[in-house]
């Protein structure tokens, strides 16, 4: 058996079985030199498994890889690199405590001279428009800069094939544009690019070919230029994706959540300090906070929710009452509800059944889940039953442990659990992170409905499509400073990008921590 020499890489009939699950079921993919090839699919469709097999991190159960027409076995990532395959990971494979040079040296062959590497890094990075300071500590860099390290690391290996796993998920629109220029240049130099994304507009923009997966199976191979974003989405999901209905311009009431002069120093050397945040969220509206990951979103959530109380009570007001010094339970008693970003470990205890996870956030509020310190398990199970029914949480048993739910289903649970009590104020961080299109539409619709019923909803999100879909007003956070909240219809992607880059910041200091 041999492959076609026309192709740089061919993966034929790849099967990968994890226990009962067929993560890849007879998938075939091929890619020519100089081609930017999109690999599309929802979460759990098997994209990451396939690229891990190509990169040698995983071994296929059956199937064959061909490199330039020759059958190959890629035993480990080192073997992949020897062939000329480079990969930029979705969750970066960087070491926070090391410098840029050290991080890159770790990925290069042992005979590379570390002494001259710094110079090469700066040359190559400037050459491709991805400037990097070689002696900077990774922990001090923004997410966009971290991605540059990964890309430059691949470029120094002079790759023939570059695999990129959702590279733009963490970038500002401007940074994404710069990335596209780099990728197009690489392609023009004959390098193949395997591009994983679920942002269909950008796939249409830069990709020459697309392979679409669903539930581990190959669905089709299409020319993205001939498709619309909607037709690609339908191929990925396998059904029409329900459009979220919103009716903007409804009446808003009095402010229910007010932040004024909210500043919070950080006690984590890698954290972000909040600086003088002003924001009011009114009854009946959704305000979204956009921003690139790591610009203070989690610190902002902690301050608003009371996970970290502030020194001055007046900085946070719920329904007009100052509560900056109160903890999260006291704020919940003011009819506020909070959904953190990490659903497992933070939003839910993995080893607790769902009903006990209900108790954890409902014990202090009306609903009879707990009284005089005693838990009413029947009431907790009843809340769980309502939530799981309303939000279509799919589970094997009526009250399973949180860990047994898939990511999307658990996300529906942690969001639904807080929405079930119809709070006057809801603060949610990354409501649809890592959730497939159908579940995301359900959660977004529920957020809109809650606001239209007179609650104030504050959404922190890095997904700009989501923000434009649901938000009435948009504010942008960068390096711990929050911009004014502008009406969504007045905002463009470019404006948000400028704000993400810090256009509104009062202090124009350079890199944080320097």
């Amino acid at each position: 058996m041999s492959g076609s020499a026309e192709y740089l890489l061919e993966a034929r009939n790849i099967v990968k079985v994890f226990g009962e699950l067929r993560a890849n079921d007879d998938i075939t993919l091929s890619l020519k030199p100089g081609e930017i090839h999109a690999l599309l699919g929802e979460n759990g469709a098997g994209k990451s498994t396939l690229v891990k097999i190509i990169y040698g991190s995983l071994q296929a159960t059956s199937g064959q890889l061909f490199w330039q027409g020759q059958p190959v076995t890629v035993a480990n990532p080192g073997a992949a690199r020897d062939l000329g395959i480079g990969m930029v990971f979705q969750h970066f494979s960087l070491f926070d405590a090391l410098t840029v040079t050290q991080n890159i040296a770790l990925a290069l062959p042992p005979d590379v001279d570390i002494g001259t590497l710094a110079g090469r890094i700066e040359t190559v990075s400037n050459d491709y428009g991805l400037p990097l300071r070689a002696d900077a500590l990774v922990a001090d860099l923004s997410v966009g800069e971290r991605q540059r390290i990964e890309i430059v690391r691949c470029l120094l290996q002079e790759p023939r094939l570059l695999i990129m796993d959702e590279p733009t998920a963490v970038l500002t629109p401007q940074e994404a544009n710069q990335l596209f220029v780099t990728l197009e240049r690489l392609a023009s130099e004959g390098c193949g690019v395997l591009y994983i994304s679920h942002r269909l507009e950008e796939v249409k923009r830069i990709c020459h070919d697309a392979t679409i997966l669903r539930h581990g199976k190959l669905v089709s191979r299409v020319d993205p230029q001939q498709e619309t974003a909607a037709s690609l989405a339908n191929l990925m999901v396998g059904a029409e994706v329900a459009a979220v209905k919103t009716d903007r311009g409804g009446k808003t009431g009095k402010p229910l959540l007010e932040l004024s002069g909210l500043s919070l120093p950080t006690d984590d050397p890698f954290g972000v300090a909040l600086k003088d945040i002003e924001l009011a969220v009114h009854a009946g509206e959704i305000v979204a906070v956009a921003g690139v990951a790591g610009n203070g979103q989690s610190e902002f959530f902690d301050a608003v929710s009371g996970e970290r109380p502030t020194a001055n009570a007046a900085t946070v007001k719920i329904s007009g009452q100052a509560c900056g010094k109160e903890n999260i339970t006291q704020r919940r008693r003011r009819d506020a509800a909070f959904v953190p970003e990490e659903r497992i470990g933070h939003g839910a205890v993995p080893d607790f059944p769902l009903s006990e996870n209900v108790v954890l956030t409902h014990h202090a509020v009306a609903g009879g889940v707990a009284r005089h310190g005693m838990i009413n398990r029947a009431a907790a199970r009843e809340v769980n039953r309502e939530v799981t029914q309303l939000f279509d949480v799919r589970k094997g048993t009526p009250d399973p442990e949180a860990r047994s739910l898939s990511g999307g289903n658990l996300q529906k649970f942690v969001v639904g659990r807080e929405m079930a009590r119809q709070p006057k104020v809801l603060v949610v961080n990354q409501p649809t992170w890592g959730v497939d299109a159908g579940a995301a539409a359900l959660i977004r619709q529920a957020l809109i409905d809650l606001a239209r019923n007179g609650s104030a909803v504050l959404v922190i999100s890095q997904d700009l499509d989501e923000i434009f879909e649901i938000a009435d007003r948009i504010a942008v956070i960068s390096r711990g400073e929050l911009s004014e909240a502008y009406p969504a219809e007045d905002m463009s992607l470019e404006q948000i990008g400028l704000l993400m880059a810090g256009a509104h910041e009062k202090s124009t200091s350079g890199v944080a921590g320097s």
């Binding site: 995983l58 480990n76 990532p77 926070d96 405590a97 770790l106 990925a107 922990a139 984590d268």
Partner: protein, 306 residues
């Protein structure tokens, strides 16, 4: 020999086993592994070192036996935690209990026997210089080895690619694996290095510090070494300072007691702990430095996906 000279010599003797055990554990922890079995590896090094030296009448064979015993114990730990994925904390504690018990069993036949003392290196002329000679050139080989190992560990960790790989494995084992490094193999190596150092520390106790076998003669030094590593924020230079500071305050306490100063003995014997902890807290006040040097993956098991 003057009194001052004697004090300094005893300080060096008291500090050497701490330094040896701590620098070994530092390398182990830098690779992301918490081995709480230092005490057990040390006592096994002590009993095997003594037994081999007594049987063969050669102190150097004793040192070799101590080293091998430490490495052997640590490889048991490595097999359990890295291959069988047991809990590092529980396994380390068990290793200490195993070492204390097993050493008592092996050592029963050797209790009360005259020891073989590891001879001081006698360097012609240099060792004969008054004051400086005995202090700088009058020690046994393990004292010099402890300093050389510390300097070598610092050099390897911060100046070589191997050190970079160890730090990377301890900082983020998933990334290191994704880059193609064999996390488990690197950790096996670092655990064995730590075991070897602990074994040498034990051999030093039974061949140089008090050349005889006494049950439980490590008397908590393994735990002190563990604490030194954490308080030194995983920096070899600070481990050296911490070990000698601890040794110095300890010995001073003994001399003060001998002079009959009216300070409760309990206070004096707790002083080294207090002084070392306070000093190391002060020098580790720089939070960024601490965070950068803390192995982020410490104690976490690593199982590559298959």
């Amino acid at each position: 020999m003057g009194a001052f000279e004697a004090v300094i010599l005893t300080i060096i003797t008291a500090s050497t086993p701490l330094l040896l055990a701590a620098i070994g554990e530092l390398v182990t922890e830098r690779s992301g592994v918490l081995n709480l079995g230092v005490e057990g590896m040390m006592i096994m090094g002590a009993v095997c070192g003594f037994a081999a030296a007594y049987t063969s009448q050669s102190a150097m064979l004793g040192v070799a036996a101590g080293l091998i015993a430490g490495v052997g114990m640590s490889l048991l730990f490595a097999f359990l935690t890295q291959t069988l994925m047991t809990s590092q904390v529980a396994t380390g504690l068990s290793l200490t209990l195993l070492g204390l018990g097993l050493s008592g069993l092996i050592g029963e036949a050797f209790t009360g026997l005259p020891g073989i003392k590891l001879a001081a290196l006698d360097i012609p002329f240099l060792s004969d210089i008054p004051f400086i000679g005995p202090i700088l050139f009058g020690h046994d080989i393990l004292v010099y080895a402890s300093l050389a190992i510390t300097a070598g560990a610092a050099y390897v960790l911060f100046r070589t690619r191997l050190g970079l790989i160890i730090t990377a494995v301890g900082g983020n084992h998933h990334s290191a694996h994704a880059l193609g490094y064999n996390v488990i193999r690197v950790r096996y190596g670092c655990i064995a290095f730590g075991g070897g150092c602990s074994g040498l520390a034990g051999a030093y106790l039974s061949l140089a510090y008090t050349p005889q076998w006494i049950e439980n003669m490590s008397s908590g030094r393994g735990w002190i070494a563990l604490a030194l590593v954490v308080f030194s924020t995983w920096l070899p230079g600070r481990v050296l300072i911490g070990a000698y500071l601890f040794g110095a305050v300890w010995i001073m306490g003994l001399y003060v007691q001998a002079l009959g100063v009216a300070i409760p003995a309990q206070l004096l014997s707790s002083l080294p702990y207090l002084v070392t902890i306070v000093a190391l807290i002060i020098i580790s006040g720089n939070k960024t430095l601490t965070k950068v040097n803390t192995p982020a993956c410490i104690g976490q098991p690593f199982a590559p996906e298959r």
